[in-house]
Structure formats: structure tokens, C-alpha cells
């Protein structure tokens, strides 16, 4: 059993332990030498080049992804050759294009913020008038970790993006917090859901995750799971699907973003769930029966290590962190520290959120100046 992953980032890297344990061969097509997933990198090349990707894909049983940026024409070339691609291009399209995603979710009846496709400054002006004078503008493609997202209060502020094509506009949702619902689905249809989690973003980047979402009502849990199920089935997703959600003060749950791959909001599952999102993703794309997503502890917390130490010596901080927090699970990604860059995370589990959070934050703090 051979899984090929396109992209050599930390998500591909974190599939390695799960593959080694089950006995699955993992092969990675990395962007460059020295990638985060270098241990499993059997090829280095350009994922936008069909020839490169085809040569890699012919040697594996199924192709999956570290990111959603492989162009549709490259994916089409794989399908043409009969290569199993999971999630498939028909699903990935919605993770690649936020306008297409909003259209499809609206068709599926999934609750989303009020939105519009704006092709001109006039479209923006009209939406701003409807939405109370402020809106979130997003480029349909290429945005992540806060990039390609802007809060605007005048049409001029979206003019540069409009020059390149249509822009997604969304109402500014008055949310009380952000949630994420992860599910995994295999081609034969089996679907499992982890508990809904709370995510804390700072500067548009995920900073912390609390699992399960503290104090979530049964109704919110049910809606979140139902939304993710509807999306996974409606978009025919294979593998892990992460649905980022807003929870409003009046207990409405709205879809913010989607990712069709393991996701930062699911890193807690490595140490906090019976089956991690990385193992589950491999099982799902291989169409193997899915594992138990149950939590291993009452509470798990994930704290990202963003940036790392200024001197660049991330591992030099291990002794301090491990001595201070013997129960914390430290994960580093083999990446060079750089301001704002995700270079690792810490998981911790226990019975009390406050205690677990203090421990996870304490361990993570050693890796930052």
C-alpha cells in the first residue's frame, strides 16, 4: 500500500508516523530539498507541472495532498490516466475557489454568512450598503493564514484585487467564537466525526485549539457535525475535511472556510484522540475502514509555535520545555524559524481545561522569545 502526497509541508510530515505505524509506504513529492517531510520525500519537483506529478503518481496506489494548490489541469491529467486522486478534483475545486465553494454550499442549504460575488467597484458598493457599511473581502484563490482576507469599508479598498478578477464579499459576522468540525470520509461512504473544537486565531493565524469546544451545547455539536457531513457528502470529499465555523451569540453556526486535508485545528488528535487526523486521512484515501475518533482525555489543547526563537535554534529550546512540562507533547516540523511561521505545536491533555491550557502554553513559550 503506497500513498503519494503532493507537497512536503508539515501536514505531509505528520502523516509519516501514522504510515510507519500501520505499515503503509508514504511517498512525498516535495517542492524543494530539505522540506518538512524530507524523510519521506522520494521526489522533488514542481506540482504545477503535469509531467512531474504524473511520473510521481504512477508509482503509488493513491495520490493525496499536503495543500490544495495543485492546478485542476494537472489533476485532470492524473484522472485521465486512471490514477486514484483523493480528494478528487471535483471536490478540491471547492477548496481552491472560495466563490465556487460559497455557491455550492448555498445550493446544499448549508448556513454561510451573507455573501456576494463582486466583479466591479459598483458590486462592492452595493454589498457594503446592504451589509451595514463594512464587509470581509476575500480573493477566491490562494488565501490562507490570514492572507487574501481584508476587512473593507469602502469599494476602493478592494480595487486592487478586483483588477485581477472577481472578489468574494461576506458580511462581518458578529461571532462569539470560532469552531472547527473535522470529519473523515472514505470513497465507499463511511464517515466519522471528531468532536467539534474551539479555535483561537491571532492575526488570522490559528494560535490555539481547545478540544472539545468548551461548553458547546448539544445543539451546536449536532449542527456542526451535520454541516460537515452535508459538506463532505455534498462535495464528495475523500479524506479529512475541516470545516471552520463561526458560532454566533444566538447559537447559529455558519461556515467560514473549508480544507480538504488534515488541518491545524485537528493537530490535537495526534495525542488526544484514539485515531489521529493523519492516520484517518491515510485510512480514508486508501478506502480502509476508519478509526475511532473518540477523545482519549476529557480535554486536549493544542498551542502553535509561531515563529520560533530569533536565533533560529528551535531544538535548543527542547531541554527547557521538556523539563518544565514532562506531560506535554512537543511537535516540531524541521522548518527554519521565521517570524510568524508555523514551526511546531504542543499538545497537552487532562481533565481540566485551565490546567491543560497552562501546561501547553508553558511548554510552547519555551520555543518563542
Amino acid at each position: 500500500m503506497r500513498v503519494g502526497v503532493i507537497g512536503g509541508g508539515q501536514l505531509a510530515r505528520m502523516m509519516i508516523p501514522a504510515a510507519v505505524e500501520l505499515g503503509i509506504e508514504l511517498r512525498v513529492l516535495a517542492e524543494a530539498e530539505g522540506s518538512s517531510a524530507r524523510l519521506a520525500a522520494t521526489a522533488v519537483g514542481d506540482y504545477t507541472d503535469a509531467g512531474t506529478v504524473l511520473a510521481f503518481a504512477r508509482e503509488v496506489d493513491v495520490v493525496t495532498f499536503d495543500h490544495e494548490h495543485v492546478p485542476q489541469e494537472v489533476l485532470a491529467a492524473l484522472i485521465e490516466e486512471g490514477i486514484a486522486v483523493r480528494p478528487g478534483p471535483h471536490a478540491l475545486r471547492f477548496a481552491q475557489d472560495k466563490l465556487a465553494m460559497r455557491e455550492r454550499l448555498t445550493e446544499l442549504g448549508v448556513p454561510v454568512p451573507l455573501w456576494a460575488r463582486a466583479a466591479s467597484v459598483d458590486d462592492v458598493a452595493a454589498f457594503l450598503a446592504d451589509a451595514g457599511g463594512r464587509a470581509v473581502a476575500k480573493t477566491p484563490r490562494g488565501g490562507y493564514d490570514g492572507k487574501g482576507v481584508r476587512v473593507i469599508s469602502s469599494p476602493d479598498e478592494a480595487a486592487d484585487w478586483l483588477a485581477a478578477g472577481p472578489v468574494l464579499l461576506e458580511e462581518l459576522v458578529g461571532f462569539r467564537r470560532e469552531l472547527a468540525q473535522l470529519v473523515a470520509r472514505r470513497p465507499s461512504g463511511e464517515l466519522v466525526a471528531w468532536p467539534v473544537v474551539e479555535t483561537v486565531q491571532r492575526g488570522g493565524v490559528c494560535a490555539e485549539v481547545f478540544a472539545p469546544a468548551p461548553g458547546a451545547t448539544a445543539r451546536v455539536e449536532e449542527i456542526a457535525e451535520q454541516i460537515a457531513r452535508t459538506v463532505a457528502e455534498g462535495l464528495d470529499v475523500s479524506g479529512v475535511l475541516a470545516v471552520e465555523l463561526f458560532e454566533t451569540d444566538d447559537e447559529r453556526v455558519l461556515v467560514n472556510e473549508l480544507a480538504m486535508r488534515p488541518h491545524n485545528s485537528g493537530h490535537w488528535t495526534q495525542d488526544g484522540a484514539v485515531t489521529s487526523q493523519f492516520e484517518q486521512h491515510l485510512r480514508a484515501v486508501l478506502d480502509l475502514p476508519l478509526g475511532d475518533p473518540a477523545p482519549r482525555a476529557e480535554v486536549s489543547v493544542m498551542v502553535n509555535i509561531l515563529g520560533g526563537p530569533a536565533d533560529g535554534d528551535l531544538l535548543g529550546r527542547l531541554p527547557g520545555a521538556l523539563a518544565d512540562q514532562p506531560g506535554a507533547k512537543v511537535h516540531t516540523y524541521g522548518k527554519q524559524p521565521r517570524p510568524g511561521r508555523k514551526v511546531g505545536h504542543v499538545n497537552a491533555s487532562g481533565s481540566e481545561l485551565e490546567d491543560v491550557l497552562v501546561r501547553a502554553r508553558a511548554a510552547a513559550s519555551f520555543f518563542q522569545d
Copy 2:
């Protein structure tokens, strides 16, 4: 941080996930191409050849082991060059030579079965007379998984071994069960202990492990931990030390065997403890602070997959096993199935031994005919 492991077996393989997670570079000197630890194998060569081992060892920060068979003269060459070797040759000597081990444990006051060094048939006859007519004979070197061990009732039965050198004789201990106590110790002296476990052997090979040892009294737990601590400190062990023990009907605890590396009796820690024996071993040999050895569940069980299916297609059994037991953690070693060979294991955790055992056995049964 670079750890070099001599030997490419499943113990080296199972260090890979822990290394990837922490961000430690693992390099393996394997015996042959296609080893269990092939993903991390950066060299293939003969571990009895000092030149081969030195060339490998010069590129890492510390050398450790998948097995105890590296000759003392090779280890001495590493030490001579100032290479960190953990556990060191002075400790490994006692894992390599059962007679030396028995002598040292006796000096340390650690309880061991009645034993003798027999250099002749007359020595054997004398011991048999003292020990009630039956004894366990062991070759001092090279025995494992039931090899090099024999129950004898006449001196002739040890004659072939005596021709090659002295033999270890031990009383046949009337034990009610076998236990194993794992500890990890780092060069700076810190030591942590996992709970004592019960091991079930079949045909001299570990078949199942129950963690913690069901119904172990506080006294037995304390003695087991104290024995392991005395051995680890007395022999100056770095890394994981496994002490195999007999528990007698009258609650005595006697040392059977030692291993200075991760051990089959500790595989449950991968999924059942906050810190696995593989992560702990890496931390210990790098002299990093040790992790919390606390169990993650009331009960964990490990069931070995011995032999595998007759058709050799171990992974072909995954779908059945995973569908039947979604909560079981299946580990396979990338080894070709062969009668009696350890090719994988299943871990399961929960709150009731009987339930957990049924689940682990059910999953493991899919991998055997």
C-alpha cells in the same frame, strides 16, 4: 540533534515516529536493504565491522541500538574516538553476557533465581542435584525469544553447549506469572518508571502484555520498580531498561532477563502511555529531560502478531481488522511474514481488562491464519 541507531529491526523502526514528532533526526545503520527501519536507514553494513560502525557513528551526536549484539571491541573503538554511546559498553556487557549479568546482579543484592556457572558436565550434575533434578540451562550469549534456553534434567542435555564454553544454570522458578518493569534513565541520572506489566509468553516468545499488571499488589509494584532502579543505576544504563521478572506464589519478585533498549513488553506505551518507550529512549540517550510515563487509560493490552498469514500478505488483512476493531491500534513492521516471526502487534486501551483483551485479540487474529 542526530541519533544513530545500530540495527534496522522493528525497534529502530518504531523510534521513527517519535523522532519525526520531536524533530530529531534519526539515522539507522541497517544490516541489509529492505530492513524494517528502511525509511531511516542511511547506511547498510556489518555492525561487527569497526570501520563500518565508526563511519556511521561519526555523523551522529549519539549512538544507540536496536539490539545488543554489537561486539565490545567495536564499541571500544567508538569510545576511543570520543563518540557518545548509550547505553555504554560497560552497561551493555551485562545485557550481552548472562553470566556476567547474574554475577553483577548478585553483587548488587538484586533477587535472582538460584544460579551457577557450569564449565563441565560435573558442574551441571552438581547443580542438578542441588536444584531438585531439573534446571534451566542458558547460553551466556546470543539467546533471545526462547533461543539458547533449555530445561534440562541430565548433564548430557547441556553437553553440546558446554563444548563451546561455560553455561548458565538456573533453578526452575515456580512462578505464578511473568512481569516486566521498564524504566528509562538519562546520563545525568534522571530515571522514570512505567507501571509494572504482566507478560504472557508462548513457546518462549512474548505473546501478550497487560498494563498495568492486573491485581499487582503495591508491594510487588514497589519491589519491581526498586529492582529496575537498582539495576539501571548499578549498571549505569542510559536509555530504556527492561527487566523481565518472575512473580512467585509467595509474592517474591526475581529477575529473569534484562534488555537495554525498547522492549516488546513496552510496546503498549505507544498508545497507552503519555510518553512511549521509543520517545523516552530517544530523550534518554540525548540526555533530554524524560517524559511523563503515566498510562493514558486504566488498562492497555498488547497482542503480538506472530508469523502473519501464510500467503505473506500482511497488509491484505488490514481492512478486516480495522473494520472489526475501529479502536484498536495496529502496528506492522514492514517485515515478510514467516512462521513465528514478530511481524506486528496490536494495542488497545480501555477501562476493563477483559473487554480490552477481547478487542486486541480480535484485531490481531485477522493477521494470522
